[in-house]
Symmetry: C2
Subunit: 461 residues, 2 copies
């Protein structure tokens, strides 16, 4: 059996999602279907954000050193990873420019210019772009990149309550993107204090589980409190005429990581299985013709099938190339096309098409008059989520002691306890990463047995 990592790399390469041979480490080339799948994510996400009142924007890639360094915790968290532009043409720049590692320090001085009174609030904006982080860890295609394709949302509110409400709204929007659109199950975890976004009050993360049992963080939401509004002076006059600082949040899902998850979570031994809502090709029609004399009838019948698919706005292709049908099945299965429609002379006689679902391999003849591809695609979408959810749930464990923790780490997410003391932390963290800490839910420490908090632990990417 092929190793998961080998399989994953082969899928990215053979399905031409990305090419990792570009000569800058951690910066792959995104190719045809890779871009198309991400484009569907972008459209879905942007529509939801804008329906919620977010304005689309595009801020510059370049951040002057003075701005990036303004918030102390923030720069401390990013300074080891920032790419610096120092020259233009042959000449040194007056001010060093950072390539945005994230856009808080780029956007918030502008927020300050836009904010005078409470009627200028809320500000809710988003942009789809790349950010740049010279991550010193081992790079992995789509999972740990140095050019990170994402959407970032940023806000400023009059009250803390509105900021907290916004976090709940964004949780729902991201769940729609990740789970409704991409059929990827996740847990939403509040990161421990030491793992929050630099400059945030706290950070919430969306974690999925890969077939190798490791978790991957695919999106985060940060409650920024008033840390940045204080530094960048996002001040407004409230209804009572008092000067106040705005309450802020910021958030973003990573499209590369989501693409990696789509490939990995749904894939099987035949290749990718793409959720219909994002599949660049939702259905492939394959003529099964062994005798030239059958060709005319078959292609005529396929013409009728095509008409139906066009009327239903299905993204489809007809593969009438010279390969054997078996080779075609293999190719389109690997590429993840959700539905195959085979048409041979016998199908034409019976006025049906043979439908083959990628999610279940179910093969079923359907009368042309009864062909409802959008309905089948909808069922496939739901089935992929149900299958993924079942696998996900089977990877959630509990550990009462270190033996159980050792047993399950590497198989998924393990819920256990921690006393909160520095003395017990190293023993836990030598095994895996603490995804979340929940002080409200009391639980005995997995190391010393003392009363403490509930934590979740996993091997992570």
């Amino acid at each position: 059996m092929e190793d998961f990592s080998d399989w994953f790399h082969r899928m990215l390469d053979e399905n031409e999602l990305i090419d990792i041979r570009y000569p800058v480490k951690g910066m792959p080339v995104y190719r045809g279907d890779g871009v198309r799948i991400i484009r569907e994510m972008i459209r879905h996400l942007e529509a939801l954000l804008e329906a919620d009142g977010h304005e689309p924007m595009y801020f510059p890639v370049a951040i002057p050193e003075t701005l990036l360094a303004a918030e102390a915790e923030h720069i401390a968290g990013f300074e080891d990873e920032v790419y610096w532009m120092t020259h233009a043409g042959g000449n040194p720049l007056d001010v060093k420019l950072a390539l945005r590692p994230t856009s808080e320090t780029c956007m918030y001085p502008m927020f300050a210019l836009w904010t005078r009174t409470h009627t200028d609030l809320p500000i809710k904006i988003h942009q789809t772009t790349c950010v740049y982080r010279h991550d010193t860890k081992h790079t992995r295609p789509l999972i740990r990149s140095r050019e990170i394709w994402w959407n970032e949302g940023h806000t400023a509110f009059e009250t803390q309550e509105e900021a907290l409400e916004n976090i709940e709204t964004v949780k729902r929007i991201y769940s729609s993107l990740i789970t409704d659109l991409l059929c990827i199950p996740v847990e939403i975890n509040q990161r421990p204090e030491w793992d929050k976004f630099p400059g945030a009050e706290y950070t919430i993360a969306f974690d999925t589980i890969f077939p190798d049992g490791k978790t991957l963080q695919v999106a985060t939401i940060h409650n920024l409190g008033q840390h940045f509004s204080k530094v960048f002076n996002i001040e407004f006059e409230n209804a009572a005429g008092e000067k106040k600082l705005a309450w802020q949040t910021s958030y973003g899902p990573g499209f590369g990581r989501l693409l990696a998850s789509v490939v990995s979570v749904h894939g099987d031994e035949k290749g990718m299985r793409l959720p219909p809502k994002v599949a660049p090709i939702q259905a492939v029609i394959i003529p099964i013709v062994f005798k030239d004399s059958d060709k005319k009838n078959v292609m005529e019948f396929i013409g009728k099938v095509k008409n139906i698919l066009e009327k239903n706005s299905v993204r489809f292709t007809v593969d009438d190339g010279d390969e054997r049908p078996g080779a075609k099945y293999y190719k389109w299965e690997q590429r993840g096309v959700p539905l195959r429609l085979e048409v041979g002379p016998k199908d034409v006689e019976k006025k049906h098409v043979m439908t083959v679902r990628r999610d279940t391999s179910e093969k079923k003849p359907v009368k042309l008059a009864d062909l409802d591809v959008p309905k089948v695609l909808d069922i496939i979408q739901k089935t992929l989520l149900a299958q993924a959810q079942e696998k996900f749930d089977a990877r959630l464990f509990k550990a009462k002691d270190e033996k159980e923790l050792d047993k399950h780490l590497g198989e998924g997410i393990v819920t256990t306890g921690w006393c909160g003391e520095d003395s017990c932390a190293p023993s836990i963290e030598s095994k895996g990463t603490i995804l979340s800490t929940d002080r409200e839910r009391r639980r005995k420490c997995v190391v010393c047995g003392a009363e403490g908090m509930t934590i979740k632990v996993a091997k992570t990417y």
Copy 2:
């Protein structure tokens, strides 16, 4: 009368298309409607390119110095403008990285990896992204930026004929973007030898004319011949088994410049007039209510209007704010909304809405049963183009002598003659820029009177 340049800046600012106060020169923030209009351009363009077989891709922003410098003419043309990344975190990078000023040298090494035999060709790809040029000339909002938002197309063909055919196809696609979608008239000019893209055989440019008589280049197409395929080794085995070099083209329209053109070409004393196909809001409904007792009836009737617009997929809004109707008219006219629908108590009685077109100011009552907004929008789209074309045509001149040239330069594009000698060029170029040279069409030199070629001259941005 307000100066054109003042009017233009005011439009960008008051309609919140961009904010030029971001503290890096030449890098504005694109805001709500600015992004929305550009997004419509992107969708239209990408759909046409992909229908023609272009694959969407995304290549890294960072180009190693060694690649950027590989083609001698190319690097000579760009080296004064390139932003260099030299450090990441506190450490110098092993290899200096350029921010892409354009992506030929980033993409073509990958094209070489993808090309073995003639069956791997053609390669036709496009990407929507930003490029970076530290232009030393005076920056102008949207017109001369240092972060340039565009789409770039790149190809490799087996034969020169295919490359030339591709140039004709792209001319049609860009004309559709610029003229069908944005209603902007252009001339397509082959640039003089000294003004071609660095590394190209020749460059074709799309020039429009602004209200101040200056021309603006909004898109270019380059015939690259085999210059880059030689340097980057894009080699293939043809059907006869011989090794051959690919023939290449590259091209791109600038979205910032197109947005500037949409604002400028169609604007009038009331503000912007947006072509319906790209207008973020295509119709605004304004209730005209002076007595509270009328409100219920009017809003009920507006509900019916809304239903019709929704059914017709019109992008619309209802402005039921507290301002006076006149203030609302003023605001939405300035913002360029193509169609206004007024509904007052008398309109409700007569079961009609008062329609007011932004392009002609024509005011006409239309029975609810007859309301066909998509049709009206289509007429407005056509009218804006016809109006713009008429103004454009009135700015095309011919000059037999220097006196005529002096008279018309600054009013538009002047067709005249040049002997081709260095002695006469300075006199012409001290007055304006030579947009095109056409050696096939003979004409007398505007300076010395000797037989020569046809040229077009203009004051340019």
